[in-house]
């Protein structure tokens, strides 16, 4: 398969999110957050992952998308909240995340609030590059 441009990836991600979240296409911008802006709930993540797999022909695990290796690392957390080192590691991994909400309350089960459409596009770009 020829290399996909970022714009092409974005369009497919946009369609997946439109279908999964019943939002309007113009609501899906690179900086829109999945939870606050597009109204996703945690269960929608499963649906989104399945749609992305189908759209791009890649295998995605939820653990991979939510950076499970970082958020379950005992060195990076206290009382189920990420500590400064954990937050730093996560920021290095997730580009274009929306950190405003998560930094106020870095509870591990709120990690999904960080995700923007751009984050997903980056993730898919990396997956396709590694294919």
């Amino acid at each position: 398969m020829a290399t996909m441009s970022r714009a092409e990836i974005f369009e497919k991600v946009r369609q997946s999110l439109v279908d999964a979240l019943s939002v309007e296409p113009d609501e899906v911008t690179e900086t829109a957050t999945l939870f606050n802006d597009l109204g996703a709930e945690s269960i929608d993540f499963l649906d989104i992952i399945f749609r992305l797999e189908k759209a791009f022909g890649v295998k995605i695990s939820q653990d991979e998308l939510t950076q499970n290796d970082i958020i379950t690392n005992p060195a990076y957390q206290e009382n189920r909240k990420l500590n400064a080192a954990g937050l730093k590691a996560l920021k290095e991994r997730i580009r274009d995340g929306d950190w405003a909400t998560f930094e106020k309350d870095p509870s591990i089960d709120k990690i999904q609030s960080v995700f923007t459409v751009g984050t997903i596009v980056n993730f898919i770009e990396q997956k396709l590059a590694a294919k």
């Binding site: 269960i43 499963l46 649906d47 399945f50 797999e53 939820q62 189920r80």
Partner: protein
């Protein structure tokens, strides 16, 4: 165990597809309220029937070890109503199956008529705990439920490998 919205499996291909049927009857109380003088099977219960057919298909694919929970109705479209005296046929196919979840596509028919299309997302809840804890015992596929499936097997449905 009264919340079962199909009567039996007609076909069952492990990990792939299942067909279950339900005979709709006026002896079902709720039909007299939905609607008075115009009894039709509620679409929500048609979705439930599909969720049970597809949920068992997904559960059996992993030997009933996972707690399979309906996570999301991806799509539900209905074209016709279902009336007492009709037989509903739920056909579910597994489209994607992961360690953590599954997607199924389904059609609901009465005879040759397409009544509805229902696509579902299931979660293997233990793989999606997100910090929450669920009881250890499998409250979805209980012993009572598995005993019921055994009964099906003993009633001459050997062609269904449940």
């Amino acid at each position: 165990m009264r919340w079962i919205w199909f009567d039996r499996f007609e076909e069952f291909e492990s990990g792939t597809r299942a067909v279950a049927v339900k005979n709709v009857t006026l002896a079902e109380d709720h039909l007299h309220d939905h609607f008075p003088g115009f009894p039709v099977m509620p679409a929500s219960l048609l979705i439930e029937g599909m969720a049970q057919t597809a949920g068992i298909l997904v559960g059996e694919a992993r030997g009933f070890r996972e707690k399979v929970i309906l996570a999301k109705v991806q799509r539900a479209v209905f074209h016709e109503v279902v009336r007492p005296g009709q037989q509903v046929r739920f056909e579910a196919r597994i489209e994607q199956l992961h360690d953590a979840a599954a997607v199924t596509r389904g059609t609901i028919r009465c005879g040759a008529t397409l009544v509805g299309e229902v696509d579902l997302v299931f979660s293997h809840i233990d793989q999606n705990l997100g910090g929450r804890e669920f009881p250890e015992e499998n409250f979805v596929f209980t012993e009572e439920f598995l005993a019921l499936l055994t009964t099906y097997r003993q009633r001459g449905t050997e062609r269904i490998p449940l």
